[in-house]
Structures are given as structure tokens and as C-alpha cells.
Amino acid sequence: MSAFMWNILLAFVWAVTTELFTPTNFVIGFIIGYIVLWFAPSVEGRRAYFLKSWRLVTFLFFFIKELVIANVRMAYYTISPLNRMKPGVIGIPLEDLTDSELVVLSNLITLTPGTLSVFLSQDRKTLYVHFMRVDDPDKLRSEIKGSFERRLLELTR
């Protein structure tokens, strides 16, 4: 991601030229650098950099949304009578993920309520997840794969 390095370099140059080495100034330099990069087609991987950064932002928003929704749901489980719950453990088939992707995915699943990663199979092909409410296992499987895994892969690859 040399474009990112470029961005850092620009922020540094900004700080040097303004002779002000405060963190705030550095952040300003970074933002200005980002804008500069927008108009600098010579930088290699510039396009991917913008795409990734955009996806990161949307991913974060997605994550926060999931987090909030799921927490509300969790709150509901917590205070509602126990017989409303239908917990279960379901195996989610995975693509061929890298270590870091696995960690992020597992963490995301755990952090979003109603789900808890329990077990990653030896061949790294299946992630078993504990659900608070299982109505249709296959639907849950595709939900996880469709939202979390897809968005994660979009971000990282």
C-alpha cells in the first residue's frame, strides 16, 4: 500500500514546512495529503487506496450499525423470559482466509450480539458459532457469509 506511505510522507512534509510538530498539525497534513493524492495520478495504487479507504469507512459504519442493532437484540434476550431463546451452535463454512482475516471475522462475530465464535475447525474451513436464537440454520449461515465475510474480503483483497 505505497499510496498510504505517500500519504504519510506528505503529512510529514507538511509538518516540516509548517515547522509545527504537533499531532494536530500532523493530522491536518494527512488530510491535505489525501486530497493532494486525489490529484496525483502518478502514484501507484492510488485508486485501490481510495477504494479501500472508502470501504473501510463503510465497513466501520456497517459494523457500528450491526453492533447497535445486535446489542439491542441482546438486551431484549437478557430481559425477556428465557423460553424465548432458541440457542444453538452452527458451523459456518469459510473461504480460504488469512490469519488476520480469521481474527477479524471471529472478533466481529463475537462482538455482534446473538453470536459467539466457539470453534475454528482444524482445516480452517468451518467456524462454529453459538447463536442466541436459531430459527433457520441455513439462513443464519448465509447471513454471516453474505454480510460479515463478504464485506471483510472486500476490504482486505
Partner: protein
């Protein structure tokens, strides 16, 4: 404005923390309790600290606060995963109302951990336990020259 925002996060965080406490006490089995504790705890404290970051609105202090969130979000789920995995591995029972357990019947069920891991060996010695019964999962680890193999508390049926 800043204080209102911070205050809202405080309230949100407080509520989640409350829920986490309620959940960990009220949920019927270890895994549902973990669900409640990890999420509500992390999110609740996350919100609180976000509020603190906003409240102080000082680069150094706020960065430190955000650092806490970062750490929390990195470590808490990993910890939960590791605990859940270990708990499942040794056969902590699922709630009777559990509707499905695909892991139970899976051929992957063996934890894939070598018991000698702390001795630095690799993970090759995956052991497959009898898949049918949760209460008798793994055979006792072979610990070589120890005078007595480690075990759990025989007088405490709950300690497993």
C-alpha cells in the same frame, strides 16, 4: 454540546454494563452467559470510554481513551473465543433448550490442540474424542514424569 454527547455515551455505556451484569447472572448456560458478558461488557465499557474521550477532548487524553477501546475490541472477543472453545472442548454442557449443535456431530470436533503445547510442541497431535457424549470428551493428557496427572476437583462436580 460536547458534554451532552459524552453524557449520552455514558448513559448508553452504563445501561449496557447493567445489561451485561444482568445477563451473566441470568442466562441459563455458560455460552449464553458469555454472549451477554462479552458483548454488553465490551460495548458498554467502549461507550463509556468513548464518552470519556469526548469529554476530555484533549488530544493526549482522548487518544489514550481510544487506545483503551482499541485494546478492548481486539482482546475481549479473542478471550471470549478462547474461553468458549475451551469450555466446549471439555464438555461444559449446553442449555437444555439448545435447539441445534452442529459441532457436536462434526468430525472436526477434536479441539486440534496438543496437550503438550506449553512444552512447545506443535499442534499435530489432534485428538478426537468420542463425539457422542459431552461429559466425557478428552482423555487425560499424558504428562510424562509427573507424579500425578493433573485433574480437576473431585469434590466439586461443578469445576469442569
Amino acid at each position: 454540546m460536547k458534554d451532552i454527547l459524552a453524557g449520552s455515551f455514558f448513559i448508553l455505556g452504563g445501561l449496557f454494563s447493567l445489561l451485561a451484569g444482568l445477563g451473566i447472572l441470568r442466562m441459563p448456560d455458560s455460552f449464553t452467559r458469555m454472549q451477554a458478558a462479552t458483548k454488553a461488557g465490551t460495548l458498554g465499557v467502549g461507550c463509556l470510554i468513548l464518552g470519556v474521550a469526548i469529554y476530555f477532548a484533549d488530544l493526549g487524553d482522548s487518544t489514550r481513551a481510544l487506545l483503551v477501546i482499541g485494546f478492548l475490541f481486539l482482546t475481549a472477543p479473542v478471550a471470549a473465543y478462547i474461553i468458549a472453545r475451551a469450555a466446549y472442548h471439555i464438555g461444559v454442557p449446553l442449555w437444555s433448550g439448545t435447539v441445534i449443535d452442529e459441532l457436536k456431530d462434526s468430525p472436526d470436533r477434536g479441539i486440534g490442540e496438543d496437550d503438550q503445547i506449553m512444552r512447545g510442541a506443535g499442534g499435530a497431535g489432534a485428538q478426537k474424542a468420542s463425539a457422542s457424549d459431552h461429559t466425557t470428551p478428552n482423555p487425560e493428557p499424558a504428562t510424562g514424569d509427573e507424579p500425578r496427572t493433573p485433574d480437576h476437583d473431585p469434590d466439586d462436580p461443578t469445576d469442569r
